[in-house]
């Protein structure tokens, strides 16, 4: 494979927490050289735009198998490439769930045939995500599962969950939990409070998250499992997370981009594109969670990309499906935090690229010699108004329709190959 040079870039290095001019030479799909200060040369002139390790997005829902009308590998991977996501870590909450090595093999073969970005699948922790029998964790690991999660189906039996965690621990498998107490959150569409009361919608207390987290952390302490929380979205849950980390438990946490950039009031007059799981929180919670990302208490930011067709969203709010597409809007939305002064660019890419890759034991997510040349070139400043019908996802359920965004992806590279070029889009 021939060598390519990307020069005159602002290199966003999350490991060194630095932002400096320079060039990157790609050879054989890997980063062959990093040349600080190099602003001239032959190859691609980045014109001072930012070059960062491609996003590793943990928790992406793809509609295959089962719901290809909502999202296919083809559409999801093109959306990912256009959003600077070079590794999709796919959720197992498909129909059927990815709970056997055979289903996993099918998913991997579809990804190989259709995807322009890397796809790494999770597998379910329990069969059919029903919380009763554990899946063949070892077989699934051998088949390529990078983590084990039942998604938003919370295991209600602590004894069964403790066995799953113990079994996974012995295999070194990473378990990803959703920490909303299922009893307290049953039927809820929004977060409890003044807004929910005015709208008359079924609501859940913020405490459901702390309860779910405290239970899971106790079981992690009991089993020595490797554990990641998909989303921490409330201030009340943060002290428990901090205590667990201080106690040396093998625990990390994520948050969705929506909980960092939107709050419960955005639901307005029953706008179902703002219905996500867990529900959007109060502004104080949003601010606390942004601070926790800045402090490193919350390790990563993900899209929690959840495609839903128009039919499942055009319903009375309580009946409408949850979730939002976000592969293409993750970076522009996250740049709001940078422009607002809450995060630096290197800190943002630690949260979206470096930390998720590290947690999964992947070599990408870094600007380092020898690392895969998975890169995103973007202009953090260019403004645009989002039009949901221009999204590449088959489903257009974004809460950012019509929103003013600042920052857009110019090109994405996977193993040195350009998989997205914004100029090909301008028409």
């Amino acid at each position: 494979m021939s060598a390519v040079m990307l020069y005159n870039a602002r290199l966003v290095d999350p490991e060194a927490a630095s932002l400096a001019r320079g060039a990157i030479r790609i050879e054989g799909g890997k980063i062959a050289d990093i040349l600080p200060g190099v602003t001239e040369g032959s190859g691609v002139d980045c014109k001072g735009r930012c070059l960062a390790p491609g996003i590793v997005d943990i928790g992406v829902k793809i509609g295959e198998p089962g719901e290809r009308h909502k999202e296919s590998f083809r559409s999801a991977s093109r959306a990912a490439a256009a959003g600077g996501v070079t590794t999709i870590v796919m959720r197992a909450d498909t129909v059927p769930a990815i709970d056997t090595p055979e289903t996993l093999a099918y998913v991997l073969s579809r990804a190989r045939d259709e995807s322009v970005v890397r796809v790494l699948p999770m597998a379910a922790l329990t069969k059919a995500r029903a919380g009763r029998e554990m899946t063949e964790i070892s077989f699934l690991q051998d088949a390529g599962a990078v983590a084990f999660s039942d998604g938003d189906a919370v295991c209600t039996d602590p004894k069964i969950l403790s066995r799953c965690l113990g079994y996974a621990a012995q295999l070194g498998a990473l378990v990803i939990g959703h920490v909303q107490d299922p009893g307290l959150s049953a039927g809820a569409a929004v977060t409890q409070g003044k807004f929910a009361t005015l709208r008359g919608l079924p609501a859940v207390s913020q405490m459901a998250e702390r309860m779910g987290l405290e239970r899971d952390l106790a079981l992690v302490e009991m089993t020595d499992a490797r554990y990641h929380v998909d989303q921490i979205t409330t201030a009340a849950a943060l002290p428990a997370l901090a205590r667990a980390k201080a106690a040396g438990l093998n625990v990390t946490a994520g948050v969705s981009i929506h909980h960092l950039t939107l709050n419960e009031l955005d639901v307005g007059d029953y706008r179902t594109f703002f219905k996500v799981k867990p529900p959007l929180r109060a502004e104080e919670d949003r601010m606390a969670v942004v601070q926790a990302v800045a402090d490193g208490l919350i390790d990563m930011i993900s899209s929690m990309h959840t495609p839903q067709d128009e039919e499942s969203k055009r319903l009375p709010f309580a009946e409408a499906a949850s979730g939002a597409v976000a592969l293409e809007t993750l970076l522009p939305a996250a740049l709001r935090l940078v422009h607002g002064g809450a995060l630096s660019l290197p800190a943002l890419f630690a949260a979206v690229s470096l930390n998720p890759a590290r947690r999964l034991g992947l070599p990408q997510g870094r600007l380092a010699v020898g690392a895969p040349a998975d890169l995103v070139l973007f202009d953090p400043d260019v403004p645009f108004v989002l039009d949901r019908f221009k999204l590449r996802s088959k489903s257009k359920n974004t809460p950012f329709d019509g929103a003013r965004m600042q920052g857009r992806v110019l090109a994405s590279y996977v193993a040195g190959q350009k998989v997205y070029d914004w100029r090909a889009d301008v028409s």
Binding site: T197, L198, G200, L201, Y270, R314, P316
Partner: protein, 319 residues
């Protein structure tokens, strides 16, 4: 005259002037309704469809009578037995009804916000006749008219709303309306039936009914739905009645001339003592029903006027 809105989806977007306009017009219809010839012509030639996705006898009858007295062609659709059961979505139902070119749609639905959703998809005026636990604006308006007639004013009154606040759209619409008009609103009920964050809405919250009723001018009781017992909200009907049922002793803490209201249907002996409900000196429950027809006539009259005006504006795409 104020109130230039296209729909009546809730009290929340209304201003004081809107509310006054509706109530003033309703007064005229109270007079009309007391004559032997009760016919007006504000809705002449118009089609009114009542779509009730949730059971209701009195509200539907009230809207039907209001429409008929104003000369509309009124059709009632009981949506619980119709195509909804066959899996048709609310939007498809709305589009189907819309294609029949109604002028007024009166909608009740068990889902909060469902009427807002439907209103986005149709060309006619939509009246929310109760959506989930969100709003029931015509109930609040008829309550306001009843209070104004009994008390001679609709401001600087102290009003206690009692019982199952959490599940009540009537309570929400009432506290919004009464607050907008400059009254002091108290909410009385057990903590389990009091929604979170309600105190932030400018009301006083009481779990002791005697303290809550102290000196109030109006006691507004809410219906306790029997299924609340299953959800573990209260231990039993008799304990609820003991603590929160309105009887003569509890009422004695209110102003000597306090009136008693109830949106109906009543559970006698659960939230209200039967003789108290029938006490013609204190209870205005029957008058509420009468005001209901007048208020609905006024609301439909004004919406029909707004619709006619909108249709004469060339830039509007209203069919």
């Amino acid at each position: 005259m104020d109130f230039s809105a296209r729909h009546l989806l809730g009290i929340e977007p209304l201003a004081q002037g809107d509310i006054r306009s509706i109530l003033d017009l309703a007064e005229q219809y109270v007079d009309l309704n007391r004559q032997s010839n009760k016919h007006g012509d504000a809705l002449a030639g118009m089609t009114q469809i009542n779509m009730f996705f949730e059971n209701s006898t009195r509200t539907q009858a009230s809207f039907e009578l209001a429409g008929k007295r104003l000369g509309a062609d009124v059709m009632n659709m009981s949506m619980q037995t119709s195509s909804i059961k066959k899996g048709e979505t609310l939007i498809d139902t709305a589009l189907t009804i819309n294609a029949m070119r109604p002028d007024l749609l009166v909608v009740r639905h068990p889902g909060s916000g469902a009427v807002n959703l439907l209103a986005e998809k149709v060309n006619c005026a939509v009246i929310n006749a109760g959506d989930g636990q969100h709003e029931h604006p015509t109930q609040a308006l008829l309550d306001a008219l009843t209070i104004r007639r009994a008390k001679g004013r609709l401001h600087r009154l102290s009003i206690a709303i009692c019982g199952d606040i959490a599940h009540s759209r009537v309570a929400r619409s009432n506290l919004l309306l009464l607050g907008k008009m400059g009254n002091r609103v108290r909410l009385v009920g057990p903590k389990t039936l009091m929604p979170a964050g309600i105190a932030d809405l400018g009301v006083e919250v009481f779990d002791d009914m005697r303290k809550g009723l102290k000196g109030v001018d109006v006691v507004m009781m809410l219906r306790l739905q029997r299924e609340r017992m299953d959800g573990g909200f209260i231990p039993s009907e008799r304990e609820f009645y003991h603590r929160y049922g309105l009887d003569a002793e509890k009422l004695s803490h209110a102003s000597a001339d306090a009136i008693i209201m109830h949106p109906g249907p009543m559970n006698r002996g659960v939230e209200i003592d039967g003789t108290l409900a029938d006490d013609i000196n204190r209870s205005v429950i029957q008058e509420q029903v009468e005001m209901g027809v007048a208020v609905r006539m006024a609301v439909m009259h004004l919406l029909a006027r707004n619709l006619r005006e909108a249709r004469t504006r060339p830039e509007e795409v209203i069919a």
